[in-house]
């Protein structure tokens, strides 16, 4: 099949990915972790040979702590480069089909981690998604979804080039009992 390109010289109908993957993480804060702290991060390593194309990200914000009048809780999603997340807990990356190659994000130089992470030397871009939950009552569940790829679309994932990653950071200082459950789905091309 001929390769058809759009005006930005991207393949209009991208080649079949090497594999398609899914991974999830959950965190419940037990301290007042600072705003802008990264809590979940995924990086396409510098040793990778693939581009990571994120299809969608979704989950819930949770709060079971002591209510705080006039306050909200929040997370922000942001792309980064130039460094790896360290500390935290390494998370599994699930192949959607067993015969796929292992995810490049399994590379020892990269991380998919959860916890309050150390992001030494990381260069952040600008935030592109925020989700907030009010803290004025407890027992909160706030669902969210970033639906990058819609049905019928050939080219619209959020891309992580080699060396780039995506992080979830606290948008506002945490309150004990705040939490996040999040799932990422991506292709590697």
């Amino acid at each position: 099949m001929a390769i058809i390109k759009d005006g930005s010289n991207a393949n209009l109908y991208p080649t079949t990915p090497a594999g398609s993957y899914i991974a999830g993480a959950a965190i419940r804060h037990t301290a007042t972790d600072a705003a802008d702290s990264a809590v979940i991060a995924l990086r396409n390593p510098s040793a990778s040979t693939k581009t990571v194309c994120i299809r969608r990200i979704y989950g819930n914000m949770l709060f079971d702590g002591t209510a705080s009048a006039g306050n909200s809780l929040g997370y922000e999603f942001i792309r980064f480069s130039a460094g790896d997340p360290t500390t935290g807990t390494t998370l599994p990356r699930i192949k959607k089909k067993n015969s796929y190659a292992a995810s490049q994000i399994l590379d020892a130089n990269a991380q998919f981690k959860s916890g309050v992470l150390t992001m030494t030397s990381v260069v952040y871009e600008s935030e592109f998604f925020f989700v907030r939950a009010p803290a004025s009552v407890t027992a909160q569940v706030v669902p969210f979804e970033i639906p990058f790829v819609t049905a019928g679309a050939a080219y619209e994932p959020f891309e992580l080039a080699v060396g780039e990653g995506i992080a979830v950071r606290l948008n506002i200082i945490a309150i004990v009992g705040q939490g996040l459950a999040v799932t990422f789905e991506w292709d590697e091309r």
Partner: protein
């Protein structure tokens, strides 16, 4: 690639003309959102040679303030300006929004030249735009209970077809404004999180 013209004279915005794909996001918490408080002006540059096609707008609204004894609803409208005339003026008191390349190798968004921005408190901006509004989406939530959140999502489901997506020709704008019912202002603590995804195409 040649230009394809529909029977009605419209030129097709083929994916071959696509320059790149972009997104932005922001989060605000208001001290007292008012009727017609402009919090977003997302404008295609007046002399631009690109068409902007919005794919999705999504996020959530929250309320963490003191619940009102009398029923008050707060929320926002999304409007298109420019399809029936030029934009009279643009927002003045605001912060610039980031414009993220979904893919770093694409050219930068043309919107970096436009007067597109959002304010931290829409009440500060009065009503800077006077041309006929065309509302296409509204979201509202009650202020009679605190600790509430409401998700919303506007998705143009078949974005690679020409007759889907929300087109912004040069000088046209997507505008967001806060609205209330049952009172002149919402109590402090109403907030909006919003992300916008869009494509930019070369004019044919």
């Amino acid at each position: 690639m040649g230009v394809i013209t529909y029977p009605n004279g419209d030129k097709a915005l083929l994916t071959a003309n696509r320059i790149g794909q972009y997104m932005t996001g922001f989060a605000n918490r208001y001290g007292g959102a008012t009727n017609n408080g402009i919090f977003l002006v997302f404008q295609n540059f007046a002399n631009n040679n690109r068409v902007v096609k919005i794919r999705k707008i999504y996020g959530n609204t929250t309320f963490d303030g003191v619940a009102t004894a009398t029923p008050i609803w707060a929320g926002f409208d999304l409007l298109v300006y420019g399809q029936t005339g030029p934009i009279a003026s643009t927002i003045t008191t605001a912060s610039a929004l980031p414009r993220m390349n979904k893919r770093k190798t694409d050219p930068a968004s043309c919107l970096s030249f436009g007067a597109n921005a959002y304010s931290t408190d829409p009440g500060d901006n009065g009503n800077p735009i006077t041309v006929q509004p065309q509302i296409f989406y509204s979201s509202r939530m009650s202020m009679s209970l605190t600790g509430k959140s409401l998700s919303y999502s506007v998705q143009f489901r078949e974005p690679d077809f020409d007759y889907d997506g929300l087109h912004l020709s040069p000088s046209h704008a997507l505008v967001g404004r806060t609205m209330t019912h049952g009172g002149t202002a919402a109590p402090a603590g109403f907030g909006i999180c919003m992300s916008i995804e869009w494509d930019e195409y070369a004019l044919t």
